[in-house]
Symmetry: C2
Subunit: 340 residues, 2 copies
Amino acid sequence: MSKSLVSRALRGEPAVADGTRQRIVAAAAALGYRPNAGARSLAARRSNAIGFVITGLFDPFWGEVVHSIDRAAEQNGLSALYMSGAFDSGDSDMWLDRFVAYREMEAIERLLEYRIDGMGVGLGGHLDLEELEEIASVAPLVAMMIDYRSSVFDTVTVDEDTALNLAIEHLRGLGHEQIVFLGEGTRPATRARVAAYLRAMEQAAAGIDPVVYPCALLQGDGYETMRSLIEADQVPTAIVAITDGVARGAVIAFTEAGLSVPDDVSIIGYDDSMHAVAGQPLLTTIRVPRRELGATTVRLLVERRNGRSITSTVMLRPSLVVRDSTGVSTRARRNLATRP
Amino acid sequence: MSKSLVSRALRGEPAVADGTRQRIVAAAAALGYRPNAGARSLAARRSNAIGFVITGLFDPFWGEVVHSIDRAAEQNGLSALYMSGAFDSGDSDMWLDRFVAYREMEAIERLLEYRIDGMGVGLGGHLDLEELEEIASVAPLVAMMIDYRSSVFDTVTVDEDTALNLAIEHLRGLGHEQIVFLGEGTRPATRARVAAYLRAMEQAAAGIDPVVYPCALLQGDGYETMRSLIEADQVPTAIVAITDGVARGAVIAFTEAGLSVPDDVSIIGYDDSMHAVAGQPLLTTIRVPRRELGATTVRLLVERRNGRSITSTVMLRPSLVVRDSTGVSTRARRNLATRP
DNA sequence: CTGTTAGCGCCTTCAA
DNA sequence: TTGAAGGCGCTAACAG
C-alpha cells in the first residue's frame, strides 16, 4: 500500500486492482482525506484548473456565462476558479452610478500564480492588447466579448454587425427613419458595437445620418442622457441602446416625461439581461447567446490544453428578441404611409 | 544569491540588504518570474487565500458583496477565489424561471483542496447544518445570509426582525391593516424572513391574522402568484415581498390588471436590487448593507486566521428605502379616517 | 498490479 | 545578512 498506489487509486487510474482500490477509497473517506491541489499541480505540472477574471461579476449577464462555464468545465474534468476584476471604491448607488476600481491585471497575475491550465477574461477596463498577449504567452488565454483581434490569444465575441443589422432592420420595418445610437465606444468591450451601428446605418438606412449620443453603460447613464435630450426637445423616434440598463434608464426618463414607449419612442436594448424583463415595457433587445459564450470559451481552452497552437476566433451569432418596447410610432407611422 | 535569499527578498522580509533586494527584484521582473502559489502554500503551510462559494453569482446582490470582499481581502494581503455553487441545467429563460442545478458541496470541497485559509459561503440550496459544521472543522467558515446558528462556524446575517418591523410599521403608518407576505420559507436562506414577518405582525398588528402566500424568489413567481390572487379577487392593500424580483412581478401583474401601485396596493420589496429601480414605480424596499456583509465576512475570516476560537455571529442592521411603491391606498385611507 | 525513487517550487529551520 | 539542508504532499517514471 504505497503512496503512489494510493495516489493512482484515488485518481481513478486503471492499473489498480479493484479490491485494492475499494479499500483505499474506503480508508480515504474514513480518514477524511482530501487531496492537496497545490501539491498535486506541483508534481503533475498541470493543475486541471482553469481560471476566469470577470469584471462585471455583478452583472447578471456574466452570471449565466459563469453557469455554462462551470458546466463545461465539469464535463472536462476541470475546476473553474473565478476572480473579480474590480472592487467598489465609493458608496454610490450600485445600479445607477458606478464607482468601480479596476484591478484586472492584478487579478490575472494572481490567477497565473495558481498555474492554471488556461484562463478566460471578460474585462471592462482599458487594457492593452500587448499586455494580454504577454499573458497569453504564459497560459492559454481566451478573451470574451472584447473587440481585440489578436494573433496570439483566442477570442469569443459576438457578431456585432449581425446584431446591429437585426436591430436596425427591425426598426426600419416599423417605419422608423431616424435611428439613433445611445452609447459610447471608447473601450474595447464596446468599441465594436458603435462601429457596427455606423456600418448598419450606412447599409440599411443610406442617406440618413447616423447619430451617436455618448453614454456610459448603466441605467443611470441612460436616464441622464435621455433627460437632457428631452429637455433639448431632440427625442428621436427610435433608439438602439448599448446595454439594456441604458435602455431601461431611457424608458424611465421617457415615462416620467409623459412619453410612451413604444408609442412615441421605440427602444432596443442590448444583452437580454435582467433589465430587459425587470420593469415595463419588457424590452426588445439583442440577445447574446450566453451559454454558447461560456461553453465555447471552455472548449477553446481545452483545445489549447490538448495542443492546438493556431489562434482561433469565434463569432457568436446574436438574435433579436422582440418584446414590447418597439412599435410603430406616430411619427414613424407617417413615414410608413408616405413611402412609395 | 541562494534560493532562500531570493525567496525572502521577494516576500519583502526585513532581513535582506537593500541593495541585494533591489537586484533580486529587478532580476525577477526581467525574467518574468511569477511565484507558484501551490508550491508556496505547500511549503508555508498557509495559502494566503480565502475562498467563496456563492451560488447566486448571477444575482447582482452578491456582485456588490463580491466587490467588498475583494477590497477587504486585498487590504489584508489575501487573494479571494470564487467558485460558483450552481450551473444551469436546462434552457429556460434565465430571469423568469430557474433551472439551476446546485453543486454547492462539490464547490466547497474543491475549494478546500486549495487549502484556503478560510471560506465564506452564500448558498441557495438545501444544505444541512452538519455538513457545514464538518467543513468548518477543516477550515474557518463564515455563512453569509443564512438562517443557521451554529456553535462551530461564524455567521453574518441580517437582522430580519428589524427588517420586517421597519416594513410593517411603515405600512401601518400609512393606514394599512391587512399586510400579507409574499414568499416562502422552506430554505435556510429565507426561513428567517417568514418567521420575522409572523413575529412582526404579532407585535405591530396584533389582532390581525398574518397571511403568507407561498411564492418562490423570482420575478416570474411574483407575477404568477399575484395573477391568481387577482383572479380570485383576493388582492390585499399591502404586501411585503420576499425579494424585489417578486415585488416587481407583482407590480406588473397589478398594472396589467388595471390596479395602481401604490394607489390600490402598496408593495415593499427586499434587497434593494436592480429590480427595485428597474421600472415604475420605484420600489420601496428593505436594504441589506451589502458592503458591510462582505467586509464583515472577511474580517471574521481574518480573525479566525489570527487565532480566534470562539464562534461569532454578526447581525447586520437593514434599513428601509422608501420610494414610490408604498402609499395610502383607498381602502387604507378609510381605515386611517376611522381610527381613534 | 504494486513498490521505489526522485523531484515539482517554495519556505523554514539552523548554521555560518 | 547570507547559505545549506530538509521537507511540504503529491505524481511520474521505472522497477519489480
